[in-house]
């Protein structure tokens, strides 16, 4: 399982979105790493990539709204990190389309996404939870 209980922030709406994000990324990685031919994997990967492009933006927006609602002091820096990831997903997606579904590009994206997501939720998002708890 990609999701670990210690990633929970204690904010039900954000935790539910994180779990959904992890579930989708896990399913994406399983298809990406399966032994089926690349041609067979492409439709499912493309479908997940399209979902991710939309869902990541929605989730980041909701998370930023929550940060604003609690006056989180790291809001601007956190927003910059979200924007960096959104730009990266869009850039990879564009290059992937242009390359006619190049596998190496998607493997590189999968590896980076795995580390980025875990660090973002296990480390950076936890700072929001710590601040909210301290604030009461």
């Amino acid at each position: 399982m990609l999701w670990k209980d210690n990633y929970e922030l204690g904010v039900p709406e954000i935790d539910a979105q994180h779990k959904e994000l992890f579930r989708r990324v896990e399913s994406f990685l399983q298809v990406l790493r399966s032994e089926d031919s690349w041609e067979k994997r492409v439709p499912k990967l493309n479908e997940t990539l399209e979902f991710m492009k939309k869902y990541v933006v929605e989730h980041f927006r909701d998370e930023e709204e929550y940060q604003k609602s609690i006056n989180y002091p790291g809001y601007e820096a956190h927003k910059q990190r979200h924007m960096g990831m959104v730009n990266y997903v869009q850039e990879v997606s564009r290059r992937y389309e242009q390359s006619n579904n190049n596998e190496d590009l998607m493997q590189e994206f999968g590896g980076r996404l795995l580390s980025w997501l875990i660090n973002h939720v296990a480390a950076e998002d936890q700072l929001i939870a710590e601040y909210a708890k301290k604030k009461g």
Binding site: Q107, G111, R112, I118
Partner: protein, 150 residues
């Protein structure tokens, strides 16, 4: 300065291993402890008040263990996916160090990580130090090669 930087990198590695991989048993040792013939080397360039690079030397077994823990899947060889996941970890550790340094009025930025071939001595560096970090899933070697901006 050398000691301050060295400590920031060790602390950041410890923090990232703890939070991302749930590994807290980490200790630092002299670089001579690091002996590895089969490794993934990732260079992260540094620009700003300090200029140069930091090279992260991950043995293949350490790399695979890290990705196996994060993904919950079984990886048995370093491929594009594994190298990319490991590169991002080097990027995250370096980013944390730059953040810590900015609080001490040392302002630097990092360049995207690149897989590299370790070169012995690629120039003169004012700050040149290395260390070996032991963890329960393997060792890592950090090579810090930096100059203060003129």
């Amino acid at each position: 300065m050398v000691h301050k930087l060295y400590k920031e990198f060790v602390d950041a590695t410890q923090k990232v291993f703890n939070l991302m991989l749930n590994i807290s048993d980490i200790s630092e040792h002299p670089a001579e402890d690091f002996k590895c013939e089969d490794e993934v080397d990732i260079a992260v360039g540094v620009v700003g008040d300090l200029q140069g690079k930091v090279i992260y030397r991950f043995p293949v077994s350490t790399s695979l263990n890290m990705v196996n823990i994060m993904s919950g899947m079984e990886f048995d060889a370093v491929d594009i996916f594994v190298a990319s996941a490991i590169s991002e970890i080097a990027n995250i550790i370096s980013g944390n160090v730059m953040m810590a340094l900015s609080g001490k009025n040392i302002v630097c930025d990092i360049l995207p990580p690149e897989q590299c071939k370790l070169d012995g001595d690629d120039g003169e560096y004012e700050i040149a130090t290395s260390c070996c970090i032991h963890t329960t899933i393997g060792k890592i070697c950090l090579e810090i090669r930096l100059n203060r901006a003129a």
